[in-house]
């Protein structure tokens, strides 16, 4: 009531604008159950754009199932990896499912659900043998746990915006090896195209992959956590993991 009086005191025009905005917001409050799922769309098999132009991959399948179990209507949007956290915080979408490992540093800015993918092993992929991984030039995707790790090893770090570009950097000789999630690199190693193969030992990094959320969204976090727990206990999460990452994958 108070607010309306205040508005009337100013100009008529302002009142109309305010009324229009209120009408818009009132309408959207009813549709509050639409959850916008943010992903990168360039990190197979976690998430990628398929031949039809839709978001596809492990996280699409898992996310849709989680939304179904939590009774949410979800839509998928893609965002560049580099700005994926700032745009979550500013509200462009409500969750991040983009192969994002749970780390203490990220927890300062955003919240995570429990992990839906066990702590990942990261690996080096190279064309040449005998790369001295401590002193070589290593490509990694920008703002990843892998790029942070490479920076600490003393190797020369080359950062790229997308995972695809890190692979190309090794192919055309700009980098000696690429360091990334083993599951992202596995298809390239299997195809053995241009002689790409794993070198060195797997490096365990991070606390597993979880859904990133704004810290102000505990309700959504609760719903998704429950759904993940349910999928862990009935084995359906393990089935999805095996389907997308093969039999060698670590399961729950």
């Amino acid at each position: 009531m108070n607010k309306q009086v205040k508005v009337r005191e100013s100009k008529m025009k302002k009142l109309i604008i305010a009324a229009a905005i209120m009408a818009l917001t009132a309408g959207s409050a009813l549709a509050q159950t639409v959850v916008r799922m943010g992903t990168e769309g360039a990190y197979p098999p976690y998430n990628f754009i398929n031949d039809k132009g839709e978001v596809d991959g492990f996280e699409r399948a898992l996310g849709d199932e989680l939304c179904k179990r939590a009774g949410l209507t979800c839509t998928w949007v893609t965002n560049d990896w580099d700005s994926i956290i700032p745009n979550l915080v500013s509200g462009n979408y409500d969750t991040i499912m983009a192969g994002m490992s749970i780390t203490d540093e990220r927890k300062k800015t955003i919240d995570f659900t429990q992990s839906y993918y066990p702590p990942t092993a990261s690996r080096y992929l190279a064309i040449k043998d005998g790369v001295d991984l401590k002193h070589a030039v290593i490509a990694a995707q920008v703002n990843t746990i892998q790029s942070a790790y490479v920076a600490e090893t003393g190797a020369t770090l080359l950062e790229y915006d997308t995972g695809d570009e890190t692979i190309n950097a090794v192919r055309n000789g700009e980098a000696d090896a690429v360091f990334a999630d083993a599951d992202f690199l596995a298809p390239f190693a299997e195809q053995n195209d241009s002689g790409l193969h794993f070198v060195g030992d797997p490096v365990p990094l991070g606390d597993g992959i979880g859904i990133g959320l704004r810290k102000t969204d505990p309700e959504l976090k609760g719903k998704l956590n429950d759904a993940i727990s349910a999928m862990k206990s009935d084995g359906s999460l393990n089935a999805l993991l095996t389907k997308w990452f093969g039999d060698g994958v670590q399961t729950y």
Partner: protein
């Protein structure tokens, strides 16, 4: 798309390409060509309007107005386009959200700027996070169009005020001698004649505008550069029925040809228009 596309592995290369180029994901590239054309179709007239207003303002005898016009046109001089684009889009978006925030969330106590983040109340987001995806895309597109129009409007204002100054002084004096008012002389004598002087500059601007359209990519709009990069990237056999190695060079080559053809056609059309305008003018028609 075609009936023979069900098993791409078995096709010969011609039919393979016919199938590959008609998958749903490739259509995003073709649609984004439409985005670029729509951008040009809206930006060009809008920038011309901004330019005309800017040129008129800077010629004004009313000091604040002429200062405003001069500042606007001077903007084009020392700052690179990319800086404008990055600044305007963020400033415009945050400005709109801040204003809406003040109206719909007067009781909000949290600071809007938290470190590097700009956080308004959820009801003040533009568009609302609950809006469908196309609303978000259209909003981003129009932010980009508006920014293009402001920046290219400033260029156009420069060209148009130069063109207005180039119309021989004698023409205006004659008009005034016939008893026309300032305004009448401006609209009846100056404006119709200035186009001939403005056209070479405006043609040049149009060319620059065409070539500036990939800046959309920088603004987060999924334009042809975005899709060329996305589609050209390596596709593994596991995740696509049409696996291919890194083909970005071919996609970018396609873009190169597209832009070259587009500017070539524009050049031809603009030369014709110029020749047409020069007909019957007091100066010779070899301006272009």
């Amino acid at each position: 798309m075609f009936s023979f596309c069900s098993e791409p592995d078995t096709l010969d290369s011609l039919r393979w390409f016919a199938c590959y180029l008609t998958t749903g994901v490739e259509f995003n590239l073709y649609l984004s060509l439409g985005t670029v054309l729509a951008l040009l179709a809206i930006t060009a007239p809008a920038a011309l309007v901004f330019g005309f207003l800017g040129a008129m303002a800077s010629r004004s005898h009313f000091l604040p107005l002429s200062l405003l016009g001069k500042i606007y046109t001077a903007m084009v001089r020392g700052v690179p386009d990319i800086v404008y684009f990055l600044f305007f889009v963020i400033a415009l978006d945050q400005g709109l959200e801040w204003t809406k925030h003040q109206i719909v969330c007067p009781d909000w106590t949290e600071p809007i700027r938290q470190g590097a983040n700009f956080i308004v109340c959820p009801q003040a987001k533009i568009p609302l996070s609950t809006s469908p995806q196309w609303v978000h895309e259209v909003y981003n597109f129009f932010l980009a169009v508006f920014t293009f129009a402001i920046v290219f409007g400033a260029f156009a204002a420069n060209v148009l005020s130069g063109a207005m100054a180039a119309v021989p002084r004698g023409q205006i004096e004659t008009a005034e001698a016939y008893g026309m008012t300032h305004r009448q002389a401006f609209w009846r004598i100056l404006v119709p004649q200035m186009w001939l002087y403005a056209l070479p500059g405006l043609s040049n601007l149009w060319m620059i505008l065409i070539k500036a359209t990939p800046l959309l990519f920088l603004l987060g709009v999924e334009d042809i550069v975005y899709w060329a990069r996305e589609l050209g990237g390596t596709k593994a056999a596991k995740f696509s029925a049409y696996p291919h190695p890194d083909w970005r060079i071919w996609y970018f080559l396609g873009l190169l040809v597209f832009y070259l053809l587009f500017t070539k056609v524009s050049e031809y059309v603009l030369t014709r228009i110029n020749r047409r305008l020069a007909r019957g003018q007091s100066i010779s028609g070899n301006m272009a």
